[in-house]
Symmetry: C2
Subunit: 301 residues, 2 copies
Protein backbone atom coordinates (compact mmCIF):
# COMPACT_ATOMS: atom_id res chain seq x y z
CA UNK A 1 0.00 0.00 0.00
CA UNK A 2 1.28 3.46 -0.84
CA UNK A 3 -0.14 6.91 -0.14
CA UNK A 4 1.01 10.45 -0.78
CA UNK A 5 0.07 14.08 -0.92
CA UNK A 6 0.51 15.33 -4.49
CA UNK A 7 0.14 18.93 -5.60
CA UNK A 8 -1.65 20.03 -8.77
CA UNK A 9 1.73 20.43 -10.47
CA UNK A 10 2.66 16.81 -9.70
CA UNK A 11 4.96 17.60 -6.78
CA UNK A 12 4.97 14.67 -4.34
CA UNK A 13 4.86 16.37 -0.93
CA UNK A 14 4.87 13.09 0.97
CA UNK A 15 5.12 9.41 0.21
CA UNK A 16 4.37 6.55 2.62
CA UNK A 17 4.41 2.80 2.07
CA UNK A 18 3.45 -0.27 4.13
CA UNK A 19 3.26 -3.93 3.13
CA UNK A 20 -0.25 -5.16 2.30
CA UNK A 21 -1.30 -7.73 4.92
CA UNK A 22 -3.11 -9.79 2.28
CA UNK A 23 -4.25 -12.57 4.59
CA UNK A 24 -5.91 -10.22 7.10
CA UNK A 25 -9.63 -9.32 6.98
CA UNK A 26 -10.75 -6.58 4.61
CA UNK A 27 -11.48 -4.21 7.52
CA UNK A 28 -7.91 -4.43 8.83
CA UNK A 29 -6.37 -3.75 5.44
CA UNK A 30 -8.72 -0.78 4.98
CA UNK A 31 -7.69 0.50 8.43
CA UNK A 32 -4.03 0.23 7.35
CA UNK A 33 -4.91 2.21 4.23
CA UNK A 34 -6.69 5.00 6.11
CA UNK A 35 -3.78 5.20 8.60
CA UNK A 36 -1.34 5.43 5.72
CA UNK A 37 -3.31 8.33 4.28
CA UNK A 38 -3.14 10.15 7.61
CA UNK A 39 0.62 9.47 7.79
CA UNK A 40 1.02 10.96 4.31
CA UNK A 41 -0.98 14.02 5.40
CA UNK A 42 1.11 14.43 8.57
CA UNK A 43 4.38 14.09 6.65
CA UNK A 44 3.21 16.81 4.25
CA UNK A 45 2.17 18.93 7.25
CA UNK A 46 -1.36 19.05 5.82
CA UNK A 47 -4.94 18.22 6.80
CA UNK A 48 -7.60 16.32 4.90
CA UNK A 49 -9.68 19.52 4.72
CA UNK A 50 -6.92 21.13 2.63
CA UNK A 51 -7.04 18.36 0.03
CA UNK A 52 -8.95 18.55 -3.26
CA UNK A 53 -9.96 14.89 -3.34
CA UNK A 54 -8.88 11.32 -2.71
CA UNK A 55 -7.67 9.47 -5.79
CA UNK A 56 -7.28 5.70 -5.73
CA UNK A 57 -5.51 3.40 -8.16
CA UNK A 58 -6.09 -0.33 -7.73
CA UNK A 59 -5.51 -3.53 -9.59
CA UNK A 60 -8.68 -4.84 -11.22
CA UNK A 61 -11.19 -6.12 -11.83
CA UNK A 62 -13.03 -3.12 -10.47
CA UNK A 63 -16.09 -1.10 -11.39
CA UNK A 64 -14.80 2.44 -11.58
CA UNK A 65 -18.20 3.98 -12.33
CA UNK A 66 -19.75 2.59 -9.15
CA UNK A 67 -16.47 3.05 -7.26
CA UNK A 68 -16.33 -0.60 -6.25
CA UNK A 69 -13.46 -3.11 -6.13
CA UNK A 70 -15.41 -6.06 -7.49
CA UNK A 71 -12.80 -8.81 -7.24
CA UNK A 72 -9.24 -7.40 -7.17
CA UNK A 73 -6.87 -10.19 -8.24
CA UNK A 74 -4.15 -9.07 -5.79
CA UNK A 75 -6.50 -9.04 -2.75
CA UNK A 76 -7.91 -12.52 -2.22
CA UNK A 77 -11.31 -12.48 -0.54
CA UNK A 78 -12.20 -8.91 -1.48
CA UNK A 79 -15.62 -8.83 -3.13
CA UNK A 80 -17.56 -5.70 -4.05
CA UNK A 81 -15.78 -3.36 -1.64
CA UNK A 82 -17.23 0.17 -2.17
CA UNK A 83 -13.82 1.80 -1.80
CA UNK A 84 -14.86 5.21 -3.13
CA UNK A 85 -17.76 5.61 -0.71
CA UNK A 86 -15.63 4.38 2.22
CA UNK A 87 -12.73 6.72 1.38
CA UNK A 88 -15.06 9.68 0.86
CA UNK A 89 -16.71 9.02 4.23
CA UNK A 90 -13.42 8.52 6.04
CA UNK A 91 -11.72 11.68 4.81
CA UNK A 92 -14.79 13.84 4.12
CA UNK A 93 -13.65 14.46 0.54
CA UNK A 94 -14.70 13.59 -2.99
CA UNK A 95 -13.08 10.34 -4.12
CA UNK A 96 -12.56 8.34 -7.31
CA UNK A 97 -10.98 5.01 -8.21
CA UNK A 98 -9.52 3.75 -11.48
CA UNK A 99 -7.49 0.77 -12.60
CA UNK A 100 -3.94 1.40 -11.36
CA UNK A 101 -2.28 1.29 -14.78
CA UNK A 102 -4.96 3.53 -16.29
CA UNK A 103 -4.25 5.90 -13.40
CA UNK A 104 -0.52 6.01 -14.17
CA UNK A 105 -1.33 6.65 -17.85
CA UNK A 106 -3.28 9.67 -16.58
CA UNK A 107 -0.28 10.81 -14.52
CA UNK A 108 2.08 10.44 -17.49
CA UNK A 109 -0.37 12.55 -19.50
CA UNK A 110 -0.65 15.21 -16.82
CA UNK A 111 2.86 15.37 -15.37
CA UNK A 112 5.14 12.91 -17.15
CA UNK A 113 6.36 11.91 -20.59
CA UNK A 114 2.94 12.43 -22.16
CA UNK A 115 2.49 16.14 -21.46
CA UNK A 116 0.93 17.85 -24.49
CA UNK A 117 0.15 14.58 -26.28
CA UNK A 118 -3.36 13.30 -27.06
CA UNK A 119 -2.84 9.54 -27.26
CA UNK A 120 -0.54 7.78 -24.82
CA UNK A 121 -0.20 4.17 -23.76
CA UNK A 122 1.42 3.21 -20.45
CA UNK A 123 2.77 -0.31 -19.95
CA UNK A 124 3.90 -1.60 -16.58
CA UNK A 125 6.26 -4.58 -16.74
CA UNK A 126 6.35 -5.78 -13.19
CA UNK A 127 5.25 -8.97 -11.37
CA UNK A 128 2.41 -8.89 -13.89
CA UNK A 129 2.13 -6.94 -17.12
CA UNK A 130 -0.61 -4.37 -17.49
CA UNK A 131 -1.31 -1.04 -18.97
CA UNK A 132 -3.61 1.87 -19.49
CA UNK A 133 -4.17 4.63 -21.99
CA UNK A 134 -5.18 8.20 -22.53
CA UNK A 135 -6.89 8.47 -25.93
CA UNK A 136 -8.06 11.74 -27.45
CA UNK A 137 -6.95 13.51 -24.25
CA UNK A 138 -9.27 11.39 -22.06
CA UNK A 139 -8.52 8.52 -19.68
CA UNK A 140 -9.52 5.45 -21.67
CA UNK A 141 -11.88 3.41 -19.49
CA UNK A 142 -13.46 0.96 -21.91
CA UNK A 143 -16.93 -0.55 -21.72
CA UNK A 144 -16.39 -2.23 -18.34
CA UNK A 145 -14.22 0.52 -16.84
CA UNK A 146 -10.95 -1.42 -16.65
CA UNK A 147 -9.44 0.27 -19.73
CA UNK A 148 -7.33 -1.96 -21.93
CA UNK A 149 -5.87 -5.21 -20.57
CA UNK A 150 -2.61 -4.69 -22.42
CA UNK A 151 -0.81 -7.75 -21.03
CA UNK A 152 -3.34 -9.95 -22.77
CA UNK A 153 -2.44 -9.31 -26.38
CA UNK A 154 -1.27 -12.51 -28.06
CA UNK A 155 2.35 -13.18 -28.94
CA UNK A 156 1.93 -16.83 -29.93
CA UNK A 157 -1.48 -18.46 -30.40
CA UNK A 158 -0.01 -21.92 -29.70
CA UNK A 159 2.35 -20.66 -27.01
CA UNK A 160 2.65 -20.68 -23.21
CA UNK A 161 -0.50 -20.90 -21.13
CA UNK A 162 -1.19 -17.51 -19.50
CA UNK A 163 -1.41 -17.96 -15.70
CA UNK A 164 -3.75 -14.98 -15.36
CA UNK A 165 -6.35 -15.56 -18.08
CA UNK A 166 -5.79 -19.16 -19.13
CA UNK A 167 -5.48 -18.67 -22.86
CA UNK A 168 -2.32 -19.34 -24.81
CA UNK A 169 0.52 -17.00 -25.66
CA UNK A 170 -0.36 -13.70 -23.95
CA UNK A 171 2.40 -11.10 -23.70
CA UNK A 172 2.16 -11.38 -19.91
CA UNK A 173 3.00 -15.10 -20.12
CA UNK A 174 6.43 -14.18 -21.58
CA UNK A 175 7.50 -10.76 -20.38
CA UNK A 176 6.15 -10.23 -16.85
CA UNK A 177 8.70 -10.58 -14.05
CA UNK A 178 6.94 -13.75 -12.95
CA UNK A 179 7.09 -15.22 -16.47
CA UNK A 180 10.78 -14.30 -16.89
CA UNK A 181 11.70 -16.20 -13.73
CA UNK A 182 9.44 -19.11 -14.64
CA UNK A 183 10.92 -19.46 -18.13
CA UNK A 184 14.43 -19.47 -16.63
CA UNK A 185 13.45 -22.23 -14.15
CA UNK A 186 11.92 -24.31 -16.95
CA UNK A 187 15.03 -24.08 -19.10
CA UNK A 188 17.54 -24.39 -16.23
CA UNK A 189 21.01 -25.76 -17.10
CA UNK A 190 23.55 -27.07 -14.55
CA UNK A 191 26.29 -24.66 -15.73
CA UNK A 192 24.20 -21.49 -15.29
CA UNK A 193 24.75 -19.19 -12.29
CA UNK A 194 20.95 -19.13 -12.08
CA UNK A 195 20.96 -22.78 -10.93
CA UNK A 196 22.18 -21.58 -7.51
CA UNK A 197 19.07 -19.45 -7.04
CA UNK A 198 16.69 -22.34 -7.80
CA UNK A 199 13.19 -21.64 -6.43
CA UNK A 200 14.11 -18.11 -5.28
CA UNK A 201 14.98 -17.00 -8.81
CA UNK A 202 13.62 -13.58 -9.86
CA UNK A 203 13.57 -11.56 -13.08
CA UNK A 204 16.24 -9.31 -11.51
CA UNK A 205 18.52 -12.36 -11.12
CA UNK A 206 18.02 -13.20 -14.80
CA UNK A 207 18.90 -9.66 -15.84
CA UNK A 208 21.98 -9.55 -13.57
CA UNK A 209 23.21 -12.93 -14.85
CA UNK A 210 22.59 -11.91 -18.47
CA UNK A 211 24.74 -8.81 -17.92
CA UNK A 212 27.44 -11.00 -16.36
CA UNK A 213 27.54 -13.14 -19.52
CA UNK A 214 25.58 -16.22 -18.40
CA UNK A 215 24.40 -18.11 -21.50
CA UNK A 216 21.02 -19.26 -20.24
CA UNK A 217 20.19 -15.86 -18.74
CA UNK A 218 21.25 -14.18 -21.98
CA UNK A 219 18.87 -16.36 -24.00
CA UNK A 220 15.98 -15.83 -21.57
CA UNK A 221 16.59 -12.10 -21.61
CA UNK A 222 16.76 -11.94 -25.42
CA UNK A 223 13.48 -13.84 -25.69
CA UNK A 224 11.90 -11.49 -23.15
CA UNK A 225 12.92 -8.45 -25.16
CA UNK A 226 11.66 -10.05 -28.40
CA UNK A 227 8.30 -10.90 -26.80
CA UNK A 228 7.92 -7.41 -25.42
CA UNK A 229 8.88 -5.95 -28.80
CA UNK A 230 6.21 -8.08 -30.50
CA UNK A 231 3.57 -6.92 -28.01
CA UNK A 232 4.58 -3.27 -28.22
CA UNK A 233 4.47 -3.34 -32.04
CA UNK A 234 0.93 -4.81 -31.93
CA UNK A 235 -0.08 -2.15 -29.41
CA UNK A 236 1.41 0.61 -31.58
CA UNK A 237 -0.44 -0.74 -34.64
CA UNK A 238 -3.76 -0.99 -32.78
CA UNK A 239 -3.71 2.29 -30.85
CA UNK A 240 -1.50 4.41 -33.14
CA UNK A 241 -0.42 6.44 -30.07
CA UNK A 242 1.85 9.47 -29.81
CA UNK A 243 3.74 7.79 -26.99
CA UNK A 244 4.34 4.40 -25.40
CA UNK A 245 5.85 4.82 -21.94
CA UNK A 246 7.06 1.81 -19.96
CA UNK A 247 7.43 1.48 -16.21
CA UNK A 248 7.64 -1.30 -13.61
CA UNK A 249 10.55 -3.20 -12.10
CA UNK A 250 11.64 -4.99 -15.27
CA UNK A 251 12.30 -1.63 -16.96
CA UNK A 252 15.12 -0.95 -14.47
CA UNK A 253 17.21 -2.75 -17.08
CA UNK A 254 17.05 0.59 -18.91
CA UNK A 255 18.54 1.03 -22.36
CA UNK A 256 19.14 -2.71 -22.74
CA UNK A 257 15.36 -3.06 -22.83
CA UNK A 258 14.34 0.25 -24.35
CA UNK A 259 16.62 0.38 -27.37
CA UNK A 260 15.55 -2.96 -28.90
CA UNK A 261 11.91 -1.95 -28.37
CA UNK A 262 12.49 1.35 -30.15
CA UNK A 263 14.23 -0.46 -33.04
CA UNK A 264 11.42 -3.02 -33.34
CA UNK A 265 8.76 -0.32 -33.49
CA UNK A 266 10.72 1.70 -36.06
CA UNK A 267 11.35 -1.38 -38.24
CA UNK A 268 8.14 -3.37 -37.83
CA UNK A 269 5.16 -1.16 -36.96
CA UNK A 270 2.99 0.24 -39.75
CA UNK A 271 4.68 3.27 -41.36
CA UNK A 272 2.49 6.14 -40.16
CA UNK A 273 2.13 4.60 -36.69
CA UNK A 274 5.91 4.09 -36.40
CA UNK A 275 6.58 7.65 -37.57
CA UNK A 276 4.13 9.15 -35.08
CA UNK A 277 5.12 7.28 -31.91
CA UNK A 278 7.86 7.78 -29.34
CA UNK A 279 8.78 4.85 -27.08
CA UNK A 280 10.39 5.72 -23.76
CA UNK A 281 10.74 4.78 -20.09
CA UNK A 282 8.80 6.37 -17.26
CA UNK A 283 10.72 8.61 -14.87
CA UNK A 284 8.21 8.05 -12.06
CA UNK A 285 10.00 5.10 -10.44
CA UNK A 286 8.43 3.91 -7.15
CA UNK A 287 6.17 6.98 -7.08
CA UNK A 288 4.20 5.87 -10.17
CA UNK A 289 1.33 4.45 -8.12
CA UNK A 290 0.88 7.56 -5.99
CA UNK A 291 1.15 9.90 -8.98
CA UNK A 292 -1.43 7.77 -10.80
CA UNK A 293 -3.82 7.89 -7.85
CA UNK A 294 -3.32 11.66 -7.65
CA UNK A 295 -4.10 12.08 -11.36
CA UNK A 296 -7.37 10.20 -10.70
CA UNK A 297 -8.07 12.38 -7.67
CA UNK A 298 -7.82 15.53 -9.74
CA UNK A 299 -10.61 14.11 -11.96
CA UNK A 300 -12.87 13.51 -8.93
CA UNK A 301 -15.53 15.69 -7.41
CA UNK B 1 -15.29 3.33 -56.64
CA UNK B 2 -18.67 3.79 -55.00
CA UNK B 3 -20.76 6.89 -54.38
CA UNK B 4 -24.17 7.55 -52.90
CA UNK B 5 -26.53 10.10 -51.49
CA UNK B 6 -27.21 9.29 -47.83
CA UNK B 7 -29.73 11.06 -45.62
CA UNK B 8 -29.09 12.09 -42.02
CA UNK B 9 -31.05 9.04 -40.86
CA UNK B 10 -28.79 6.68 -42.84
CA UNK B 11 -31.21 6.13 -45.72
CA UNK B 12 -29.23 5.38 -48.91
CA UNK B 13 -31.11 7.39 -51.57
CA UNK B 14 -28.76 6.32 -54.35
CA UNK B 15 -25.80 4.01 -54.80
CA UNK B 16 -23.46 3.92 -57.81
CA UNK B 17 -20.35 1.81 -58.45
CA UNK B 18 -17.68 1.69 -61.15
CA UNK B 19 -14.45 -0.32 -61.30
CA UNK B 20 -11.33 1.64 -60.32
CA UNK B 21 -9.08 2.00 -63.42
CA UNK B 22 -5.97 1.61 -61.26
CA UNK B 23 -3.45 1.83 -64.09
CA UNK B 24 -4.81 5.14 -65.45
CA UNK B 25 -3.40 8.54 -64.45
CA UNK B 26 -4.60 10.11 -61.20
CA UNK B 27 -6.59 12.79 -63.08
CA UNK B 28 -8.65 10.20 -64.98
CA UNK B 29 -9.51 8.27 -61.84
CA UNK B 30 -10.50 11.51 -60.11
CA UNK B 31 -12.68 12.40 -63.13
CA UNK B 32 -14.36 8.97 -62.80
CA UNK B 33 -14.96 9.71 -59.12
CA UNK B 34 -16.52 13.14 -59.74
CA UNK B 35 -18.73 11.66 -62.50
CA UNK B 36 -19.82 8.91 -60.13
CA UNK B 37 -20.80 11.54 -57.56
CA UNK B 38 -22.93 13.33 -60.17
CA UNK B 39 -24.52 10.01 -61.15
CA UNK B 40 -25.41 9.36 -57.50
CA UNK B 41 -26.91 12.85 -57.26
CA UNK B 42 -28.94 12.35 -60.47
CA UNK B 43 -30.22 8.96 -59.32
CA UNK B 44 -31.36 10.54 -56.05
CA UNK B 45 -32.96 13.36 -58.03
CA UNK B 46 -30.82 15.83 -56.06
CA UNK B 47 -28.28 18.61 -56.65
CA UNK B 48 -24.93 19.22 -55.00
CA UNK B 49 -26.31 22.46 -53.50
CA UNK B 50 -28.85 20.42 -51.51
CA UNK B 51 -26.13 18.29 -49.91
CA UNK B 52 -24.67 18.93 -46.43
CA UNK B 53 -21.11 17.88 -47.31
CA UNK B 54 -18.93 15.39 -49.17
CA UNK B 55 -17.64 12.52 -47.04
CA UNK B 56 -14.83 10.32 -48.31
CA UNK B 57 -13.57 6.98 -47.03
CA UNK B 58 -10.30 5.72 -48.48
CA UNK B 59 -7.74 3.06 -47.82
CA UNK B 60 -4.62 4.46 -46.15
CA UNK B 61 -2.06 5.65 -45.56
CA UNK B 62 -3.67 9.07 -45.62
CA UNK B 63 -3.41 12.28 -43.63
CA UNK B 64 -6.96 12.96 -42.57
CA UNK B 65 -6.16 16.25 -40.83
CA UNK B 66 -4.67 17.76 -44.00
CA UNK B 67 -7.22 15.94 -46.17
CA UNK B 68 -4.51 14.30 -48.26
CA UNK B 69 -4.15 10.75 -49.62
CA UNK B 70 -0.43 10.42 -48.92
CA UNK B 71 0.26 7.00 -50.43
CA UNK B 72 -2.90 4.86 -50.64
CA UNK B 73 -1.81 1.22 -50.88
CA UNK B 74 -4.66 0.34 -53.30
CA UNK B 75 -3.86 3.17 -55.74
CA UNK B 76 -0.32 2.73 -57.06
CA UNK B 77 1.29 6.00 -58.09
CA UNK B 78 -0.92 8.24 -55.96
CA UNK B 79 1.23 10.54 -53.83
CA UNK B 80 -0.05 13.40 -51.68
CA UNK B 81 -3.34 13.89 -53.52
CA UNK B 82 -5.30 16.67 -51.70
CA UNK B 83 -8.59 14.84 -52.11
CA UNK B 84 -10.54 17.01 -49.65
CA UNK B 85 -9.60 20.30 -51.33
CA UNK B 86 -10.30 18.84 -54.79
CA UNK B 87 -13.71 17.43 -53.78
CA UNK B 88 -14.70 20.64 -52.00
CA UNK B 89 -13.78 22.67 -55.08
CA UNK B 90 -15.52 20.32 -57.49
CA UNK B 91 -18.84 20.18 -55.64
CA UNK B 92 -18.73 23.53 -53.84
CA UNK B 93 -19.29 21.83 -50.48
CA UNK B 94 -17.43 21.14 -47.25
CA UNK B 95 -15.54 17.84 -47.45
CA UNK B 96 -13.70 15.45 -45.15
CA UNK B 97 -11.76 12.22 -45.58
CA UNK B 98 -11.05 9.39 -43.15
CA UNK B 99 -9.62 5.89 -43.34
CA UNK B 100 -12.34 3.73 -44.90
CA UNK B 101 -12.62 1.28 -42.00
CA UNK B 102 -12.67 4.12 -39.46
CA UNK B 103 -15.45 5.64 -41.57
CA UNK B 104 -17.53 2.43 -41.41
CA UNK B 105 -16.99 2.29 -37.64
CA UNK B 106 -18.52 5.78 -37.58
CA UNK B 107 -21.49 4.57 -39.65
CA UNK B 108 -22.04 1.55 -37.38
CA UNK B 109 -22.03 3.97 -34.44
CA UNK B 110 -24.46 6.38 -36.11
CA UNK B 111 -26.81 4.06 -37.99
CA UNK B 112 -25.83 0.43 -37.44
CA UNK B 113 -25.15 -2.10 -34.73
CA UNK B 114 -23.38 0.44 -32.53
CA UNK B 115 -26.24 2.89 -31.96
CA UNK B 116 -26.25 4.07 -28.36
CA UNK B 117 -22.86 2.51 -27.54
CA UNK B 118 -19.71 4.44 -26.64
CA UNK B 119 -16.94 2.07 -27.67
CA UNK B 120 -17.20 0.08 -30.88
CA UNK B 121 -14.66 -1.70 -33.04
CA UNK B 122 -15.34 -2.47 -36.71
CA UNK B 123 -13.35 -5.18 -38.48
CA UNK B 124 -13.49 -5.70 -42.23
CA UNK B 125 -12.39 -9.16 -43.36
CA UNK B 126 -12.06 -8.74 -47.08
CA UNK B 127 -9.18 -8.91 -49.59
CA UNK B 128 -7.19 -7.36 -46.73
CA UNK B 129 -8.09 -7.13 -43.07
CA UNK B 130 -8.54 -3.75 -41.46
CA UNK B 131 -10.59 -1.94 -38.94
CA UNK B 132 -11.56 1.20 -37.18
CA UNK B 133 -13.07 2.29 -33.91
CA UNK B 134 -15.30 4.74 -32.14
CA UNK B 135 -14.00 5.22 -28.59
CA UNK B 136 -15.72 7.33 -25.98
CA UNK B 137 -18.29 8.32 -28.62
CA UNK B 138 -15.63 9.79 -30.94
CA UNK B 139 -14.13 8.48 -34.18
CA UNK B 140 -10.76 7.12 -33.07
CA UNK B 141 -8.14 8.66 -35.35
CA UNK B 142 -4.84 7.96 -33.58
CA UNK B 143 -1.70 10.05 -33.65
CA UNK B 144 -1.20 9.80 -37.43
CA UNK B 145 -4.89 9.90 -38.34
CA UNK B 146 -5.21 6.33 -39.64
CA UNK B 147 -6.92 5.04 -36.51
CA UNK B 148 -5.96 1.53 -35.48
CA UNK B 149 -4.41 -0.88 -37.97
CA UNK B 150 -6.36 -3.81 -36.61
CA UNK B 151 -5.14 -6.37 -39.16
CA UNK B 152 -1.63 -5.97 -37.78
CA UNK B 153 -2.06 -7.48 -34.35
CA UNK B 154 0.13 -10.55 -33.95
CA UNK B 155 -1.23 -14.09 -33.92
CA UNK B 156 2.12 -15.89 -34.04
CA UNK B 157 5.43 -14.10 -33.55
CA UNK B 158 7.27 -16.81 -35.50
CA UNK B 159 4.50 -17.26 -38.05
CA UNK B 160 3.72 -16.34 -41.65
CA UNK B 161 5.33 -13.28 -43.15
CA UNK B 162 2.72 -10.52 -43.53
CA UNK B 163 2.57 -9.40 -47.18
CA UNK B 164 1.44 -5.90 -46.20
CA UNK B 165 3.83 -4.93 -43.40
CA UNK B 166 6.60 -7.51 -43.62
CA UNK B 167 6.63 -8.66 -40.03
CA UNK B 168 5.71 -12.17 -38.93
CA UNK B 169 2.35 -13.53 -37.89
CA UNK B 170 -0.09 -10.63 -38.32
CA UNK B 171 -3.80 -11.48 -38.20
CA UNK B 172 -4.06 -10.24 -41.80
CA UNK B 173 -1.50 -12.87 -42.89
CA UNK B 174 -3.95 -15.63 -41.80
CA UNK B 175 -7.51 -14.40 -42.06
CA UNK B 176 -7.76 -11.97 -44.97
CA UNK B 177 -9.38 -13.34 -48.14
CA UNK B 178 -5.99 -13.18 -49.85
CA UNK B 179 -4.32 -15.12 -47.02
CA UNK B 180 -7.08 -17.76 -46.94
CA UNK B 181 -6.59 -18.50 -50.65
CA UNK B 182 -2.81 -18.42 -50.32
CA UNK B 183 -2.78 -20.86 -47.40
CA UNK B 184 -5.01 -23.23 -49.40
CA UNK B 185 -2.64 -23.07 -52.39
CA UNK B 186 0.38 -23.74 -50.15
CA UNK B 187 -1.22 -26.81 -48.57
CA UNK B 188 -2.87 -28.10 -51.77
CA UNK B 189 -3.59 -31.84 -51.94
CA UNK B 190 -4.39 -33.78 -55.14
CA UNK B 191 -7.69 -35.14 -53.76
CA UNK B 192 -9.15 -31.73 -52.85
CA UNK B 193 -11.78 -30.11 -55.06
CA UNK B 194 -9.74 -26.93 -54.61
CA UNK B 195 -6.98 -28.42 -56.80
CA UNK B 196 -9.18 -27.75 -59.84
CA UNK B 197 -9.22 -24.01 -59.11
CA UNK B 198 -5.43 -23.79 -58.90
CA UNK B 199 -4.23 -20.20 -59.39
CA UNK B 200 -7.80 -18.82 -59.54
CA UNK B 201 -8.61 -20.04 -56.05
CA UNK B 202 -10.42 -17.54 -53.78
CA UNK B 203 -11.51 -17.47 -50.15
CA UNK B 204 -15.10 -18.01 -51.35
CA UNK B 205 -13.98 -21.27 -53.02
CA UNK B 206 -12.42 -22.42 -49.76
CA UNK B 207 -15.61 -21.66 -47.85
CA UNK B 208 -17.81 -23.40 -50.45
CA UNK B 209 -15.56 -26.48 -50.47
CA UNK B 210 -15.45 -26.59 -46.67
CA UNK B 211 -19.27 -26.58 -46.59
CA UNK B 212 -19.27 -29.40 -49.17
CA UNK B 213 -17.08 -31.50 -46.88
CA UNK B 214 -13.68 -31.12 -48.56
CA UNK B 215 -10.97 -32.08 -46.03
CA UNK B 216 -8.34 -29.54 -47.02
CA UNK B 217 -10.85 -26.70 -47.23
CA UNK B 218 -12.27 -27.70 -43.85
CA UNK B 219 -8.84 -27.51 -42.24
CA UNK B 220 -8.02 -24.15 -43.88
CA UNK B 221 -11.36 -22.79 -42.79
CA UNK B 222 -10.98 -24.01 -39.20
CA UNK B 223 -7.53 -22.41 -39.00
CA UNK B 224 -8.96 -19.15 -40.40
CA UNK B 225 -11.66 -19.07 -37.74
CA UNK B 226 -9.13 -19.85 -35.00
CA UNK B 227 -6.80 -17.08 -36.21
CA UNK B 228 -9.63 -14.58 -36.36
CA UNK B 229 -10.79 -15.66 -32.89
CA UNK B 230 -7.28 -15.10 -31.52
CA UNK B 231 -7.13 -11.62 -33.07
CA UNK B 232 -10.61 -10.67 -31.93
CA UNK B 233 -9.87 -11.78 -28.34
CA UNK B 234 -6.70 -9.64 -28.31
CA UNK B 235 -8.68 -6.71 -29.71
CA UNK B 236 -11.40 -7.18 -27.06
CA UNK B 237 -8.76 -7.31 -24.30
CA UNK B 238 -7.00 -4.19 -25.57
CA UNK B 239 -10.00 -1.98 -26.39
CA UNK B 240 -12.57 -3.38 -23.95
CA UNK B 241 -15.33 -2.31 -26.38
CA UNK B 242 -19.11 -2.54 -26.07
CA UNK B 243 -19.28 -4.04 -29.55
CA UNK B 244 -17.15 -5.74 -32.18
CA UNK B 245 -18.91 -5.69 -35.55
CA UNK B 246 -17.48 -7.57 -38.52
CA UNK B 247 -18.02 -6.89 -42.19
CA UNK B 248 -16.35 -7.67 -45.52
CA UNK B 249 -16.71 -10.52 -48.00
CA UNK B 250 -15.34 -13.27 -45.75
CA UNK B 251 -18.17 -12.62 -43.25
CA UNK B 252 -20.72 -13.79 -45.84
CA UNK B 253 -20.02 -17.20 -44.28
CA UNK B 254 -22.33 -15.94 -41.53
CA UNK B 255 -22.97 -17.97 -38.38
CA UNK B 256 -20.21 -20.45 -39.28
CA UNK B 257 -17.79 -17.60 -38.69
CA UNK B 258 -19.63 -15.59 -36.08
CA UNK B 259 -20.53 -18.29 -33.58
CA UNK B 260 -16.97 -19.58 -32.99
CA UNK B 261 -15.82 -15.97 -32.58
CA UNK B 262 -18.52 -15.32 -29.99
CA UNK B 263 -17.57 -18.50 -28.13
CA UNK B 264 -13.86 -17.62 -28.18
CA UNK B 265 -14.51 -14.16 -26.76
CA UNK B 266 -16.82 -15.53 -24.05
CA UNK B 267 -14.33 -18.25 -23.06
CA UNK B 268 -10.97 -16.54 -23.53
CA UNK B 269 -11.22 -12.76 -23.18
CA UNK B 270 -10.66 -11.15 -19.77
CA UNK B 271 -13.79 -11.49 -17.62
CA UNK B 272 -15.07 -7.91 -17.49
CA UNK B 273 -14.20 -7.33 -21.16
CA UNK B 274 -15.97 -10.54 -22.21
CA UNK B 275 -19.03 -9.66 -20.14
CA UNK B 276 -19.26 -6.15 -21.61
CA UNK B 277 -18.84 -6.91 -25.32
CA UNK B 278 -21.24 -8.10 -28.02
CA UNK B 279 -19.75 -9.61 -31.19
CA UNK B 280 -21.91 -9.47 -34.31
CA UNK B 281 -21.95 -9.10 -38.10
CA UNK B 282 -22.61 -5.86 -39.94
CA UNK B 283 -25.87 -5.55 -41.82
CA UNK B 284 -24.47 -2.93 -44.22
CA UNK B 285 -23.37 -5.37 -46.94
CA UNK B 286 -22.06 -3.69 -50.11
CA UNK B 287 -23.25 -0.29 -48.87
CA UNK B 288 -20.76 -0.22 -45.98
CA UNK B 289 -18.32 2.02 -47.88
CA UNK B 290 -20.92 4.60 -48.86
CA UNK B 291 -22.46 4.65 -45.38
CA UNK B 292 -18.99 5.09 -43.91
CA UNK B 293 -18.23 7.99 -46.22
CA UNK B 294 -21.56 9.56 -45.34
CA UNK B 295 -20.86 9.27 -41.61
CA UNK B 296 -17.59 11.14 -42.28
CA UNK B 297 -19.46 13.73 -44.33
CA UNK B 298 -21.81 14.50 -41.46
CA UNK B 299 -18.72 15.34 -39.36
CA UNK B 300 -17.43 17.81 -42.03
CA UNK B 301 -17.98 21.50 -42.35
Amino acid sequence: LAAGVVGPDGTVHSFAVVPTRRRRPVEEILADLWDLGHRALAEADATAAEMFAVGIGSGGPLDARRGVLTAPAHLPGWRDVPIVRLAAQHYGLAARVENDATAVAGAEYRWGEGRGLDNIVYLTVSTGLGGGAVLGGQLFLGAAGNGGELGHVTIDWHGRRCPTCGRRGCLEAYASGTAIAERAREQMEPGSVLAERAGELTAADVWAAAQAGDDLAGRIWAETVAALACGVVSIVNLFEPDLVVLGGGVTRSGAALLEPLQRAVADQAMGPAAAAVRVTLSSFGERAGVLGAAAVGYLAG
